[in-house]
């Protein structure tokens, strides 16, 4: 009930500002990246997660449309649980959300449309998604997804060499992290009395893509 009220209020308030059709903007962006049927690339994954020490690792990413994304690595890598094509998956399910145009913002020097997506059903894990799409090139430049199970996932997309395929050269991901606790029963270093340092609650993962092979 509460959710319906919010939706109504938002829709009524913004109806005056609805200069753009949000679905059209989303479709334009989707069209651009949907041209990629498959790709492979090398990816360097650098993670900065509270209570975790991990060096940058090399991996190989391969994608086959529509949803088959695989990351393989000899090293241990840390990725967000939702993966990093979550927003594209949400966008593709057009009948499952309501898109609301929120205006324009400058993101990384690009004039971008901000579109908020709200799920139509409570059964969805995601509660809200915000997408910033480059107004000129219809590229997703930033996304923020809030889920019930995993908190908020924020992704910044930087494009260069594969802009024509809507494939980023870099992705900067921020993900909510729980406060670290030692699981009971695991033999750890019982003799240490180190003070636990103040831990943040946001983990950062930077993906750098190279050697794209598209289609």
């Amino acid at each position: 009930m509460k959710k319906i009220s919010c939706l109504f209020l938002l829709t009524w308030t913004l109806s005056f500002l609805q200069a753009q059709d949000p679905q059209q903007i989303l479709n334009a962006a989707e069209q651009k990246y949907a041209r990629v049927k498959k790709f492979t690339a090398d990816v360097n994954i650098a993670s900065d997660i509270p209570a975790m020490k991990i060096l940058p690792a090399q991996a190989t990413i391969s994608y086959v449309a529509p949803n088959n994304l695989e990351v393989t690595s000899k090293s241990i890598i840390v990725l967000p649980k939702q993966g990093f094509r979550e927003i594209q998956n949400i966008i593709s399910q057009k009948n499952k959300y309501t898109a609301i145009y929120m205006g324009q913002e400058i993101i990384n020097g690009r004039n971008s449309h901000l579109i908020t997506l709200l799920p139509k059903s409570d059964a969805e894990d995601w509660i809200m998604a915000k997408i910033w799409i480059d107004a000129a090139e219809s590229l997703i430049v930033q996304s923020q997804t809030t889920t019930k199970s995993s908190g908020t996932l924020k992704v910044i997309y930087l494009y260069n060499s594969q802009k024509q395929w809507a494939l980023p050269d870099q992705m900067w991901i921020e993900v909510d992290v729980q406060k670290f606790k030692i699981p009971k029963g695991v033999a750890t270093d019982l003799h240490r009395n180190r003070e636990t340092q103040n831990q943040g609650t946001v983990g950062k993962i930077q993906l750098t893509f190279t050697n794209y092979k598209v289609n």
Binding site: M52, I54, L55, T72, G151, V186, T188, D189, H191
Partner: protein, 281 residues
């Protein structure tokens, strides 16, 4: 008198005892059981370890690899292997006393100090053999069945993921320190063996001391804070420090010093007492 011949004699005696192979066999079985369990359901174990992170993150790559398996196996060092070492070294003097061979040994042209020194050397050799065997099994079997990869270690302040290329020297160092810790147990048991005329007493006494000191070390009571850093059991797990980042050189050096000092203390007690002991058995 060639001291190496004395050590060789002691090694012949250790190798001839069926009990000596109990430790080797137990380690082999233990490692096999752990490796089998991890092969069957290792991913659940990893989930258990990474539980704090798995709500929002996922781990990729070869997480359950031979290096991690070896690390899990080595965790046994803290609890089980000291007993297997004490089983042999605690018997080196008292066993001969019980058997009656001690009087025969000490009426040969060899000083008591030489006898004791050769037994310490043989005990150290056995301990080293146990550690090396554990290492061969853990790393060899682990890497053979699970492949290699980065090592994920859970410490009290979080997860450390060590690149594969950075692991070998850490294992070498860890085994060296583990040997030092276990040899402290061996030295203690040999010292206790000097005071006894039966086989079982020194072994039980050694394990009792380890258990007592471990409890003191883990009880979060301020009255024990001052003695905790000086207990050898506090430093028996210092081999794990090799898998921390940044590498805690000071902590490891401190542990090595404490363990070495315990060696010297136990040696001194045993040499002093054994030299004066009346052999009545």
């Amino acid at each position: 008198m060639n001291p190496f011949k004395n050590v060789y004699n002691e090694w012949v005696k250790i190798a001839a005892k069926p009990r000596s192979y109990l430790g080797v066999g137990a380690i082999t079985v233990l490692v096999a059981v752990i490796v089998f369990a991890l092969k069957a359901d290792g991913l659940s174990f990893i989930s258990f370890v990474t539980a704090s992170f798995e709500q929002t993150l996922t781990f990729g790559g070869n997480v359950l690899n031979g290096n991690l398996v070896a690390f899990i196996v080595l965790q046994m060092l803290v609890i089980h292997v000291p007993l297997l070492v004490a089983l042999i070294t605690g018997d080196l003097i008292s066993g001969e006393s019980a058997m009656g061979t001690l009087r025969l040994l000490l009426t040969h042209p060899i000083s008591r100090h030489q006898v004791l020194a050769s037994k310490y050397m043989a005990g150290a050799m056995y301990t080293a053999f146990i550690v090396v065997w554990l290492g061969i099994l853990a790393i060899g079997l682990g890497r053979g069945l699970f492949g290699t990869g980065d090592l994920m270690v859970l410490n009290s302040d979080g997860l450390v993921i060590i690149p594969e290329s950075d692991i070998t020297w850490r294992y070498v160092g860890a085994f060296a320190v583990a040997f030092l810790a276990l040899n402290t147990v061996a030295t203690l048991s040999i010292a206790l063996s000097c005071f006894s005329d039966n086989s079982v007493g020194p072994i039980v006494a050694t394990m009792s001391i380890i258990i007592l000191f471990t409890i003191i070390g883990t009880l979060d009571v301020s009255i024990f804070d001052s003695i905790r850093p000086f207990l050898f059991t506090t430093h028996m797990a210092s081999w794990r420090s090799f898998f921390e980042d940044p590498f805690p050189m000071d902590e490891i050096s401190n542990s090595v010093w404490v363990l070495m000092i315990h060696h010297v203390i136990f040696w001194a007690i045993s040499f002093f007492y054994f030299h004066r002991k009346d052999i009545t058995t």
